[in-house]
Amino acid sequence: MAQILFFDPHEEDAMELARRLKAKHHTVTSCTKAKELIQHLKCHAASFDVVILDVSAQTLDLQILNGVNCMVLKAGQAPAVVCVSRVYKGPQMQLQIERKGARLVYVR
C-alpha cells in the first residue's frame, strides 16, 4: 500500500516493526546504519511515502531529522516523517520535531 523507509539501529526491533508494517501490506525498506539511510534518500527519496526514524539517541538539534528534511525537499515530493523513540524526550523535543513537520511516537 505505502512505501516506507525505516531507520533503526536496533536490528531486532527493526525486524519486528518491519514485520508489523508488512502485515498491513506496506513495502518496507529497513536500514540500521545512517549511511544506508542517506543512500536510500539520495537515490529514491521521492518514491517513499513515509520515512520512520529512530531518534532515541538524538539530542535537541535533531541532526538526523534536519538531514532527512534537506534530502526530501530536494527530491520534490516529500514523504511524511515519523520519529520513534524508546526514551522519553520531553516536551521540547516533541515541539522541535513537530516544528520540522514530523511526528513523534514513543515505543516503550
Partner: protein, 171 residues
C-alpha cells in the same frame, strides 16, 4: 500482552491519511472576517482581517497586505473553478464583498483596492511568496505553486485556482 509497536503502526496510518487529505484537498486555511452586522455572515461591508494557515495544532498568520487579503478571500470563495487574471480582475470589480470591503468599520480609511489584469499576475507571485513562508513556518512540506495553482489552457492563457480547504470565522 504489551503491543510495543501498535502506536507506531497507528501513526503511520495517520500520516498516510494526512498525506492523502492534503493531496485531495490541499492545506487548510482560516479566513477571519471582522465588523459583521449582527445576525449575518460574509456580507459586503465586512473586513478580511487575517488569513491563517492551519496544520496539525499550529496556526500561522499569512503576512498579507490588504490587496492580497482581498485577492485570497476571492480565490477562496471561488476555488472550485480556475480563473484567468482577467477573469479574476473582472470578478473583483463586480464582487460586492470586495467593492464594499471594510465599509462596516466606518473608519474613514480606504479599505478597498483596484485590481487590473497585470496586477493580478504580480499579486499571485506575492501570494505564493507569503504561502511559502507560512508553509515553512508550520512545517508543511508543500510547494506553494501546488496550493495556488496555475492551470494551462489550450492557448497561452493561464488560469489560477486555490487548492485548499477554507473556513471562514466571523468576529
Amino acid at each position: 500482552m504489551c503491543d510495543r509497536f501498535g502506536s507506531v503502526v497507528e501513526t503511520v496510518d495517520l500520516v498516510l491519511a494526512e498525506a492523502h487529505g492534503l493531496a485531495v484537498s490541499g492545506p487548510h486555511f482560516k479566513v477571519v472576517h471582522r465588523f459583521r452586522e449582527p445576525g449575518s455572515n460574509c456580507l459586503p461591508g465586512e473586513e478580511i482581517a487575517w488569513v491563517l494557515l492551519v496544520f496539525r495544532s499550529r496556526e500561522c498568520v499569512l503576512g498579507l497586505p490588504l490587496s492580497l487579503r482581498i485577492l485570497f478571500d476571492y480565490l477562496a470563495r471561488n476555488r472550485r473553478l480556475p480563473q484567468s487574471a482577467a477573469q479574476i480582475a473582472a470578478g473583483l470589480h463586480f464582487d460586492a464583498f470586495s467593492l464594499r470591503h471594510g465599509a462596516n468599520a466606518r473608519s474613514g480609511a480606504k479599505l478597498t483596492r483596484r485590481f487590473s489584469h497585470s496586477v493580478i499576475k504580480e499579486y499571485v507571485k506575492r501570494l505564493r511568496r507569503a504561502l511559502k513562508v507560512a508553509l515553512e513556518e508550520v512545517g508543511l512540506k508543500l510547494d506553494p505553486d501546488s496550493v495556488l495553482r496555475s492551470e494551462p489552457t489550450v492557448s497561452n492563457e493561464v488560469r489560477y485556482r486555490l487548492k485548499a480547504s477554507v473556513d471562514w470565522i466571523h468576529l
